[in-house]
Each structure stands twice: as structure tokens, then as C-alpha cells.
Symmetry: none
Subunit: 205 residues, 4 copies
């Protein structure tokens, strides 16, 4: 029998006896994202993260080798979660609908995960990114590659490189999102439709 019990703020797994607490890891992640967005890489000490996460600074080192290791794992974890949301429920649609769905999913994710999204932007544009095994992060986006591949086979796209196509799908949404969080843009139904329309106009033959 496999059951769990919350005992004294700790999630104990009776089957395998470890009591490393995953909720602590999650708390550390959340605190890091929040503080990084508020104060940036250079003003977010481990001690602050620990305090916000409700753990001791040394506890972070039980879960991660060092600060870099933690940030990189946090990035991959966050990116993976975003990828999962982005390509949910897109099966069985035609290309155009599928693309529209991906864009809508992306916008939904952004609106529901402001901090995660902004953290991803900050990280992606920092030198941390180049220290990363890029492939691992890109794997979460294979559905996008497959989508484009399918569209090309069906002959609906302009005869341009994949990379050019990609550039007109995600980056405009991302840019709109940044303006959204700066209070300069609203994701109204009309605008979302416009964004999808322009993307399609850009890439369709």
C-alpha cells in the first residue's frame, strides 16, 4: 500500500522512507522567480530567496549544488511546464486552427503565469542561457517543429526557411506580452484575433 501523510510540515513517504520534501523545492523555485523578477540577478541573494521560501539558506544546498545549478534547473523546469501548456489540445485540427490554438494556449499561459513568463524572458536573454545545454530546453518545443513540418508538406506556407516562419509566430506574441505586463497593452478578444490573423498572413502562402 502506498500512502502519504502530512506530518509536522513534512511530506513523508512511507513506502520508501525518504523524507526529502518536494514542497520545499517548489517554495524555493517560487521565491526565486518572484525575487528575480523584482530585483534581478544581481540583487537576489540566496539568503533572500531562503527567507521568502521559508527555509534556511543551507537547505537550498540540500536540493541544489549551488546558485547556478538552481537557476538552470529552475529554468528548465519552468520552460518544460510552459511547453506542456502551449501544445495542449492541438491534436486533430487543421494547420490553421492548430496554430491559432497554440497562440491562444501561449497567451493563456502568459496571463496565468506572469512571473514564470517574465523569468523565462530574463533568463533567456542573459548569459546563463549560453551555459545551458540548449537542446534540453528545445525538446519541449518539438511539437512546434512538427506543426511547421506538416504545414510545409501540405503546401500552405510561404516558401521560406523554417526559422523565418518561426520568427513570425512566437516572437510577436512574446513582445505583446511584455507590453501587457508593462501595462501598455491589453489582451482583448479582438486583439488576440488580430495577432492570430497577422501571424497567419505572414506565414501563409
Amino acid at each position: 500500500m502506498n500512502f502519504r501523510v502530512d506530518y509536522n510540515r513534512m511530506t513523508v513517504y512511507y513506502t520508501n522512507m525518504r523524507y526529502k520534501d518536494n514542497s520545499k523545492k517548489e517554495a524555493i523555485y517560487q521565491a526565486t522567480i518572484l525575487l528575480l523578477n523584482k530585483d534581478g540577478f544581481s540583487a537576489t541573494p540566496m539568503s533572500k530567496i531562503a527567507k521568502h521560501a521559508g527555509v534556511s539558506p543551507s537547505t537550498i544546498y540540500v536540493y541544489f549544488e549551488n546558485k547556478d545549478d538552481m537557476l538552470k534547473k529552475l529554468y528548465l523546469d519552468t520552460k518544460q511546464k510552459m511547453g506542456a501548456k502551449m501544445f495542449a489540445d492541438t491534436d486533430g485540427m487543421d494547420i490553421k486552427a492548430s496554430l491559432a490554438k497554440v497562440i491562444r494556449n501561449y497567451i493563456d499561459y502568459i496571463r496565468e503565469n506572469k512571473e514564470a513568463f517574465l523569468f523565462l524572458q530574463q533568463f533567456t536573454n542573459s548569459p546563463y542561457m549560453s551555459e545551458l545545454d540548449d537542446q534540453e530546453a528545445n525538446n519541449y518545443f518539438t511539437p512546434m517543429y512538427q506543426l511547421v513540418k506538416r504545414g510545409r508538406q501540405e503546401g500552405v506556407f510561404k516558401n521560406v526557411d523554417d526559422d523565418v516562419l518561426f520568427a513570425y509566430i512566437e516572437p510577436p506574441i512574446t513582445e505583446a506580452a511584455k507590453r501587457y505586463f508593462r501595462g501598455e497593452f491589453e489582451f482583448t478578444d479582438v486583439r488576440i484575433k488580430s495577432l492570430i490573423e497577422l501571424a497567419w498572413s505572414a506565414i501563409k502562402k
Copy 2:
């Protein structure tokens, strides 16, 4: 007569003296950009910047109030230079040609100013950005707003918000540039033409 007055806490210099001055400031800027791109905000101390710039750490404080002040001024300076390049030689063209020229200018700037471009990206996506008087940076891009305004008057654009239009002009190029510097993309003539074509397809009515 050749003289210059700097009201920004800096004394007045005449012809021969001003070069020394500017060259140190410029050296500090260049060192900062380079190190920031290589090591990031959290691993770029003033002492390292000073060493790379060939000056004493305390010399930096002759030119800037503190680190934040320096970074912000560096950002504005860099952004302004980029804006100047981006909208050069676009007068007297029709909308479509004008837009194409802006995109070509932007790509030229990117290719000739790798470090500056990457620094702008890193800064823009960091919380430093929100501490900035955004308006000042945006002023350098008024030509873009005017271009879009003109296009709208001429009725050549889709009937969507300006922000939606913008999202399909610069962000795709920026994304392509990032891939370019990661070694994943080449700015061939064909691809540049494609990028311009897709942008036009996206926004034109």
C-alpha cells in the same frame, strides 16, 4: 570653434582636452558591455570593468554616480545610437520601401554591433528596465510611430492596433538576430528578403 559643454555633473572641455575625457568614458562603456554579455549582471564587478577599461575603479565614479547610474546611461546611450542607425536614410520613400529600409538598417546595425545588441536585449529583459524612465528610451523610436501613422493614413495597413502592427515588425528580426548570434541562423540575402516579405504580408491590408 570647437567646444563642448556637458551639464551632466561634468566640467567644460575645449577642443584638445575633451578627447581624453570621452575616450575613458567610452572605454568604460565598451568594457561594461563586453563583460555584461560574457558574465552577466551578477558577475560583472566594477573592479573588473575598470581593469578591462584600463582605468582605476575610482575613475568610474568620476564619470558616473554609481553602478546603476552607469548602466542606465549606458543603456540609453546605446539605444539612442541604435535608433539613429535604424531610421537613417528613410526619407522620401513610400511606406513599403521605408519599412524595408528600416528592417535592413536594423539588420545592418545588429551585424555590426553584436555586443551592443546583445547588451540591449539583456538589459531590456531585466528589471533594470522598469526602473527607467521608459519615455526617454522610446523617444529614439518616434520615427517608427510616425511611419505607422503615415501608413494608417494611407490605408495600407490592416485595421488593427498599432501595438499589434509593431509586434510583427521588429520582434521577428530581433528573434532571428538572437539565433544568428547563437550560430543557428544566417542573414543571407534570400532570408533578409523573406523576413521583409513576411513582415509586409503580416501588416498590409
Copy 3:
């Protein structure tokens, strides 16, 4: 019947059970000696000792009160073992032969117990030593005092203080041993004979 009682805060174990106990303690001792010689006092954490000994850090605290307690007990244990070897099989010899045998025993011990020897040297020359009840460690060397006492009664030694005599018996061998482990000296038969000869020349009347 084979049993053992340890009054030193440790419970009583009979034949079959005692092995497990002792093997862990011994593993901790061995790991400590090795790491201390390799990395020194200031770079040998309990966690590292535990890992090398194949036990949990907390297990060390089952056997010892704390780190200091462990180190001191390890020193006394090691010193006692060395003493036992040093004075083995020296009964019934005349003074000169007895001394030669002690020196040979010491060299044998050194060669067979490199790590133990080096640990003793490090410990002896550290301030840990002065925290120790010196008498306890010296007890293991009473045979040496008796030997010198006997020699003096027989009138074979120079008329100098015991401490002066001692200084020409063990320290030269110890010094040679240190060079030996640094790869600067070989314990050939000839050299061992020389060492014994010089010691005798020094102290004999």
C-alpha cells in the same frame, strides 16, 4: 569465552555482535586519518569522513561525543598501537641490543603504517596536543623510560639528562621517516644500521 566490556560510554557486546560495532568505528578512524593527511584539519569535514567511512554523518555521533572527542580518541588509540609495536620483543636483551631493536621496531612500524605515522606527527605538532592529558599518551612509552633508567644504572650512558638522551634516540628516526615519505630518503639496511650506530655514539659514555 570471548567477550568485551567497554565502559567508555559504550554498551557491552558479546562475541558475534561486537564486530559490526568495531568495524564502523575502525572505518571512521581510517577515513579520518587518510583525509587528515591529505587535506589537513581545516579541510576535513565530518561529512567527508562519513562518506569515506561508508556511514552516515550522524553515525559518527553514535560513537563519539563530537569531532574533538573523536580526534583525541583516535590519537590516543593510534599512539597506543605504535607504542605496543615499538617495544615488542625487547625483553632479555642488553641495553645496546634493546635500543637497536626499539629503533628497528619503530622503523618497521613507520614503514607499515605510513598514514598513522603522518597523522601522529600532524596531531603532535598541532594545538590539539596541548588540550590532551599528555600523561595518557606518554604512558605508552614507559618502556623507553625504563630502558634509559636501566642503562643509566649500568653506567653505559653519558652523564646527561634523560631528556637529552631521548632527544638523540627517537627524533632522528622520525625526521628520517618524514624525508622517507617525501621521497627524499630510503630505509636501506645500511642506512638503518647507520642510524642505530649514530644514536648509540650519541648517548653512550
Copy 4:
């Protein structure tokens, strides 16, 4: 003109304009030796050293790369000073008198430099030693090698290896010194004569 002035706790050199203060380095050295002898390597933090030396912890890093660097430089500095004292005023003597003088010099040094001597012992017997370029430390002792070489040429020594000879010259004194500082031994005139006598008995043909 070359003059110096004590200005505001700082030794200013007007000729070359540096004002790095050598007295600070010396204070750091003295504090380190004292604390190391009292508390050992593992209980002597940089902060404590700084406090005792009357400087800020960060000031230590102006003079040394890190703790290891400081300890090694301190060792070499101390060893060099000892070597200088040990071989002072030994020219023009015959071998026997020369050796006696060296031993007396060594004992004088020991008595006048208790802390330095004990520090050298602790360091020498620690793993720090093996990280050192041994040659550099040994250079300070070339006079000893020359002395032994000369004696051998004159045919006054036993026909044994140099290393065996060395073992009966310095180590007995060192051992006596350690007992001296433990309060177990007195360097009376008689005993000093005895020590010299036994050394000579040991090595002379």
C-alpha cells in the same frame, strides 16, 4: 630626496607614491602566527586574524590572494628569517665550532621566537607543506649542506649519508625545544653543552 612620513597611521613613500603599508602585512603575519598556535588551522578564521591585526578582513585580500596564499607566504617568510639567524656569524670557524655555533644560534632563535618556531613546526607537519615548492624553503638552509660537505672533505664525519648526519644535528634540538615550550625542559648552559656534545659524538668519526 627620499624621505618618509607617518601620516594618519599610514607610511607614505613620497618618492614612488605607493602607500601600501607594510606594517599591515606584518601585523597580519603576527596575528596569524599567534592564533594558529593557540587555536590551530581549523579554528583560525580570517575574521579573527583581521581583528587581532587591527585591519578589516577585506584588507588581508589586498595583500594576499587567499588564506592559503597567505599561510604559505608566511611560512616562507618565517623560515627564511630563521635560516638567516641560524647561520649568522659562523664564518672562519672550524667544523666543530661552526656546528656548535649553528646549534647555539638555533637555540637562541627558538627562545627568542617561540611563536614563530611553533608555527613552523605545525606547518611543517601539516599537508600544507606538500603543496609548497619545497626547494624554496630549503634554499635557506644551504649553509648547512655546505657545512656538512666541508666536514666530509676534511674527513671528520662518520662515513654515512648526509641525510643520516642531518638527522642527528637539528631534530634533537627541535625536540628539546618542543619539550621546552611544554614546560618539560630547560635550556640551561649545561644542557646546551650536552646537546652539542651528543650531536658531535653522533656524527664525528
